[in-house]
C-alpha cells in the first residue's frame, strides 16, 4: 500500500487546481462587466486588464497553494489523514476567498475612478475622439 502522505499530496494538488480554476472562471467572466464600465467603451483595454488580473490571480493562487503543500508530520492513521487533508484544503479555500474579496475591492475602486470618454490612438500620433 502506498504511504498515506502520497494520498494527501495527490488529493491536495487536484483540489487546489480545481478550486482555483473554478473560482477564477466565475470571477473573471463576471468582472468583464466591471471592466467595460471602468474603461468606458475601450474594449481592448478592458479585456487586456481583465486578462492581466486573471494572470495575477492564477499566479498567486497556484504559488501559495504549491508553496504550502509540504507536510512534515508522519501520517499513520486514516483519521489523521482526513484531519490533515481538511486542514490544508480548508486553509487554501479561505485564502481563495480573501483573494476573491480583494479583487472585488479593486474592481469597485476602479469603478470610482472611471475613465473619461475615449481617446483613440493612431499610428504616429493622437486623435482625440469624443464619445458619449
Amino acid at each position: 500500500m502506498a504511504p498515506l502522505i502520497n494520498v494527501v499530496y495527490a488529493v491536495y494538488i487536484v483540489f487546489i487546481a480545481a478550486a482555483t480554476i473554478y473560482v477564477a472562471r466565475t470571477l473573471f467572466s463576471n468582472s468583464k462587466t466591471f471592466m467595460y464600465t471602468i474603461f468606458n467603451g475601450r474594449e481592448d483595454l478592458a479585456l487586456a486588464t481583465n486578462k492581466l488580473f486573471e494572470t495575477g490571480f492564477f499566479l498567486l493562487a497556484f504559488g501559495i497553494g504549491l508553496w504550502f503543500l509540504e507536510t512534515r508530520e508522519l501520517i499513520g492513521t486514516h483519521r489523521r489523514l482526513f484531519e490533515v487533508l481538511s486542514l490544508k484544503t480548508g486553509g487554501f479555500t479561505i485564502f481563495l476567498g480573501i483573494l476573491l474579496f480583494f479583487n472585488l475591492y479593486l474592481f469597485f475602486r476602479g469603478m470610482k475612478h472611471r475613465r473619461k470618454p475615449a481617446e483613440v490612438v493612431v499610428e504616429g500620433g493622437t486623435i482625440t475622439e469624443q464619445r458619449v
Partner: protein
C-alpha cells in the same frame, strides 16, 4: 540518474510556465503601453525589450536555484514536495513582478493625467 531526471522535469516545467506567463503579459500589457506612449511602433519595441528582460531575469533565477537546491531522498513524496515548493516559489516571484509592473503602469498613467508628464 533519477535525480537528474527530476531536475530536468523541474527545469522544463518551470521554463514552460515562465514562457507562457511572459507571452500572456506581453500580449495584454501592450494595450497599456500603447495607451501610455501613444506611438504604436515605439511601444512595440519597448514591449519586446521588456519581454526580453523578463525572460533573462527568470531564466537566470531558474538556473541558479537549480544549482543551489537538493532533493532530500528519492521517495515519491519527497520529489513532489521538492517540485511543488520550487514551482510555488517561482509562481509567487512571477506574481510579485507582475503586480509591480501593474503598479508602475498605474503610477505612470497617474503622473501623465495629473501633471501632464510625458514618457
Amino acid at each position: 540518474m533519477k535525480i537528474f531526471l527530476i531536475y530536468l522535469l523541474y527545469f522544463l516545467v518551470s521554463t514552460w510556465l515562465m514562457l507562457k506567463v511572459g507571452n500572456s503579459l506581453h500580449r495584454n500589457g501592450r494595450h497599456w503601453i500603447v495607451d501610455l506612449i501613444r506611438d504604436i511602433q515605439l511601444s512595440d519595441r519597448i514591449n519586446d525589450i521588456l519581454l526580453l528582460g523578463y525572460r533573462l531575469i527568470n531564466l537566470g533565477y531558474l538556473l541558479m536555484t537549480l544549482m543551489l537546491s537538493r532533493v532530500r531522498e528519492e521517495s515519491m513524496a519527497a520529489i513532489v514536495e521538492f517540485l511543488s515548493a520550487k514551482l510555488g516559489l517561482i509562481l509567487m516571484i512571477l506574481a510579485w513582478l507582475h503586480f509591480q509592473n501593474i503598479g508602475l503602469l498605474l503610477l505612470f498613467s497617474k503622473l501623465k493625467s495629473k501633471y501632464k508628464w510625458h514618457l
